[in-house]
């Protein structure tokens, strides 16, 4: 042993180097984070968009009155719910009768014109037809004691008359018919990418919506969605509607988990490269700052396409860090 002391020293040194190499190799595998990679793909963003829509009755009607009749009694006010046949207003009978007589005179005059023949015959015939309808309506009204009633279950939307007012063009009575259902109407600027599905909560009930091509007006798109079921509502009531917004297609979209943020909020990704090391080829990550164009709950669109991006990692990464890449 003493004779070959130098040989033994060299062997011990080599053994020590060997031990260190083996331990380092084992730690090298354990210390490295395992990463799963992804590439950017062309895709669209999908996100929930909340808008305020107006809820309206699908069927409404303006009540017609004979002209220049005085309102004697008002039975219903705005918002009243009326059953079929319920009184709305009562007109003064004398005024209605005057209107009726006046129309009868007009009818006689028109009949004479019609009998005379000539160029005005056709026009007189047409007017006469219209007048007959109005006379029939007045006859019905007189038979009902000049009380105007609703034909079916209704809701009074607009009632501007008071007792003593004369029926005039600038005052109207509008009723709606709930049995025909309601619709929602809203306007948005991003209509091109709105999906044809959405939800609304009306009177605590979640309702699935669907609609067709929107109407376009003044830079905004107006959507109308008929409600699939009859709901209790107020005409014009605001309702929050959740819509699915689908963006335009972006060139470079990747999962949201692939984006990291600096302390100052700058977004970056880790891109994987390979390098030749003393012990062979090694994967490592580079920190690359990116510009986020748009994002939704799941994906992020960045300004330029990239490949070999770290999507998931087993431990925290840093720039130039060696990693183990596994194929998913």
């Amino acid at each position: 042993m003493k004779k070959h002391r130098m040989v033994w020293i060299i062997l011990v040194i080599l053994f020590g180097i060997g031990i260190c190499t083996v331990v380092s190799a084992r730690n090298y595998v354990e210390d490295k984070p395992v990463v799963i990679l992804t590439d950017t793909v062309p895709n669209s963003m999908h996100k929930q968009l909340q808008v305020t829509a107006g809820l309206y009755y699908s069927e409404t009607e303006w009540i017609e009155f004979p002209e220049n009749c005085r309102i004697e009694t008002v039975y219903a006010q705005n918002g009243d719910k009326l059953e079929a046949g319920a009184p709305l207003l009562q007109l003064k009978e004398a005024d209605v009768q005057i209107q009726y007589l006046q129309m009868q005179l007009q009818r006689e005059s028109l009949e004479e014109e019609q009998d005379a023949g000539g160029t005005r015959e056709e026009l007189a015939g047409w007017k006469l037809q219209s007048l007959e309808e109005e006379l029939a309506y007045l006859e019905q009204l007189l038979a009902a004691d000049c009380v105007i009633k609703v034909a079916s279950d209704s809701v009074v939307l607009q009632q501007e008359y008071e007792a003593g007012d004369y029926t005039a063009e600038n005052k109207r009575v509008e009723v709606a018919f709930p049995e025909y259902g309601c619709y929602l109407e809203w306007s948005v600027g991003q209509a091109d990418y709105l999906d044809y599905r959405g939800t609304a909560v009306i009177s605590g009930e979640k309702i699935e919506l669907s609609w067709e091509q929107p109407g376009f007006a003044k830079g905004m798109y107006t959507y109308v969605s008929e409600l699939p079921e009859i709901v209790e509502c107020m005409h014009g009531e605001p309702v929050e509607v959740e819509l699915l917004y689908t963006s335009q297609e972006y060139r470079a979209v990747l999962p949201k988990d692939s984006i990291w943020y600096d302390t100052d909020g700058s977004p970056y990704i880790f891109q994987t490269y390979s390098r030749t090391r003393v012990f062979g080829t090694e994967y490592y990550v580079r920190k690359i700052y990116v510009e986020i164009v748009e994002q939704d709950d799941v994906n992020v669109a960045i300004s330029s396409p990239a490949t070999q991006i770290v999507e998931r990692t087993s431990m925290k990464l840093s720039d130039m860090m060696a990693v183990t890449v596994i194929e998913e």
Partner: protein
């Protein structure tokens, strides 16, 4: 006599300063290799002193730096064959030059002198061309072949062999020994101490070679540690240097001790 006029004190101060100048870089490297990463994050001097020394860097390099050890093996794979080849061939060359006769001795030594005077950088290009033509670029053998045949080595061992009394060779030949027997049985045993010194010197030289591997190997996976030191982070390079130098220092010390022992036995 005033103290400052004493030549011994003056000599002592001068030598002390020179010694300090020589030892300072080594002490600095050793100190830095023991520095803890926490040393930067403390405010009081005492805490800093307490926290300064740590084996953290050694742990990192010894057990967590695979690249370091892979390069270490590359260094061994380059150095050991080169030393062995250099010792074997140069010893033979030195013996040959010694026994070849004065006329040829002068001629060969002239050639060696001219070659030895050429700077390494001048030889790099022709060597590169030759190695390219022989398809040896990128192979460790290229470095071994270039590094082992150095004219200085022949000079060194020639002078050593020259010191062996020629009469011993003559006596062996008279006894019927062939040239190989004379070399192996007579010359080598007498040159043993010199060969040991020679081996230690060229080990230190070859252990830290940079240019040859860098130019002839051109493959990071085969570079020795001396080439890759610049790629190590500063926090680990001090420890790396210490561990890199340690085998050579141990071999050197052991070699010197062994030589002195043999010298003692000789006298």
């Amino acid at each position: 006599m005033k103290w400052y006029k004493s030549s011994r004190i003056l000599q002592g101060i001068l030598l002390g300063m020179l010694g300090l100048f020589t030892v300072a870089p080594i002490a600095w490297v050793l100190g830095k290799s023991l520095e803890s990463s926490l040393a930067y994050s403390v405010d009081s001097v005492w805490t800093w002193v307490c926290r300064y020394f740590s084996l953290e860097q050694y742990d990192n390099v010894l057990f967590h730096d695979l690249e370091y050890w892979a390069s270490y093996w590359n260094t061994i794979f380059l150095t050991v064959p080169t030393i062995l080849l250099a010792v074997i061939t140069t010893t033979m060359a030195a013996y040959g030059l010694t026994v070849i006769g004065k006329k040829w001795q002068r001629r060969f030594m002239l050639v060696y002198a001219v070659l030895a005077l050429l700077p390494t950088q001048v030889l790099l290009v022709p060597q590169l061309i030759v190695l390219s033509k022989t398809q040896l670029i990128g192979v460790r053998l290229a470095v071994i072949l270039v590094a082992y045949c150095c004219p200085w080595y022949v000079f060194f061992l020639y002078r050593l062999c020259k010191g062996v009394p020629e009469e011993t060779f003559e006596a062996a030949r008279v006894e019927g020994a062939g040239e190989w027997t004379v070399f192996y049985r007579v010359a080598l045993p007498q040159m043993r101490v010199g060969i040991m010194i020679f081996s230690i010197i060229i080990s230190a030289d070859l252990w830290g070679m940079v240019e040859e591997p860098l130019i002839y190997i051109q493959d990071a996976s085969k570079y020795p540690l001396s080439v890759l030191f610049h790629e190590m982070g500063e926090e680990l390079s001090y420890t790396g240097v210490v561990l890199f130098s340690l085998p050579i220092i141990i071999i050197f010390l052991e070699g010197i001790q062994s030589i002195m022992k043999k010298e003692g036995e000789g006298t």
